[in-house]
Symmetry: C2
Subunit: 196 residues, 2 copies
């Protein structure tokens, strides 16, 4: 035992353990990327047992969502998008994506996330890997066409641009148009990207 009552090396959960795991995960995602990061490696880096990481986080995905401060679970988003008629997928995507941005808390956190991604190459690398695995690939899979990943990527361009123009740049009339009209305009365009 040290003077602070903590043993060095592996140790049971303390008040800061969860935060230390998240910090270790953030470092691993930054250093090695999403694919090469494992629960086991994060545990080693945090100096705790892998079982303790599993106690706080069910999966690497959850660690990533927490480490990147993503305000919504991308896997839930992906599930909402793919669940329903194929010819309404454009509308579902617009509704789900803008729904996150229209909540005050979601908007604040998404703004911070977008600003980090656009200004930091490291954050951009982490995000594009994680988002590809958690949301782009699952959505591309249900499309079941050869160029599905390109199509979903094009959807991403339309969504990212809408968020930036409306919420970060505030360009009119996009910034203040009611959300129903915006969804009505985006839905056919997203549908064209995906199935046109």
């Amino acid at each position: 035992m040290t003077a602070t009552g903590r043993t060095p090396g592996r140790r049971p959960g303390g008040p800061d353990t969860r935060g230390e795991i998240v910090q270790a995960a953030r470092e691993s995602f930054a250093d090695k990327g999403f694919a090469a990061t494992s629960i086991r490696a994060v545990a080693r880096q945090a100096g705790v047992d892998a079982a303790l990481v599993h106690h706080y986080f069910d999966s690497k995905d959850e660690l990533f969502i927490e480490a990147m401060a993503i305000p919504v679970d991308p896997r839930r988003i992906a599930a909402q998008i793919v669940d329903g008629p194929r010819d309404e997928i454009g509308r579902r995507i617009a509704t789900v994506f803008l729904g996150v941005w229209e909540s005050p808390d979601g908007q604040q956190r998404m703004k911070a996330l977008f600003r980090s991604v656009v200004t930091s190459d490291e954050v951009a690398r982490m995000m594009r890997e994680g988002i590809t695995q958690m949301i782009i690939q699952p959505v591309a899979q249900v499309l079941d066409v050869p160029d599905a990943q390109l199509r979903v990527g094009l959807v991403a361009t339309q969504l990212v641009g809408t968020a930036i123009v409306r919420y970060l740049v505030g360009l009119e009339p996009i910034a203040s148009i009611d959300i129903e009209t915006l969804i009505d305009r985006l839905a056919p365009v997203l549908q064209l990207h995906l199935t046109g």
Copy 2:
């Protein structure tokens, strides 16, 4: 005359005069916005004669382009877009916009500009005003429909998102797809935004 050989207040052009005019313009665009900034006011702030500002810059538009370090003349972009058949305007927009980004110098400068716009509310305010006057309104005018400005705004969302996803985030396959394919994919979507 002062010890440095320069008179205070109004003075003729010196080696740094052009730069000082640009700096004064930047401050005026930031403080008062695009519409309320005039050549006369910029001259006053820079401590030079309005004729000297006109010697370097033909118009307030040119001062703005220089002050914001915009790598292309938005008025030339607007002219290229509106000049041609209406049913090919989507393709012209994609070609002209991505042409700027595909040149190495243009890409570097556009990246810097986009990062400033996304992270600084002040730069965002200046840009949205200037871009609205120099590019969005002229393009909206030739469309000649009631919701033209909304349509051009939607085009902006698609373009901004494409640039960010391809050049700043580097999301695959958008990042490395050949430019002709990307234009082929964007053209019908931009056309739908504008005339659909």
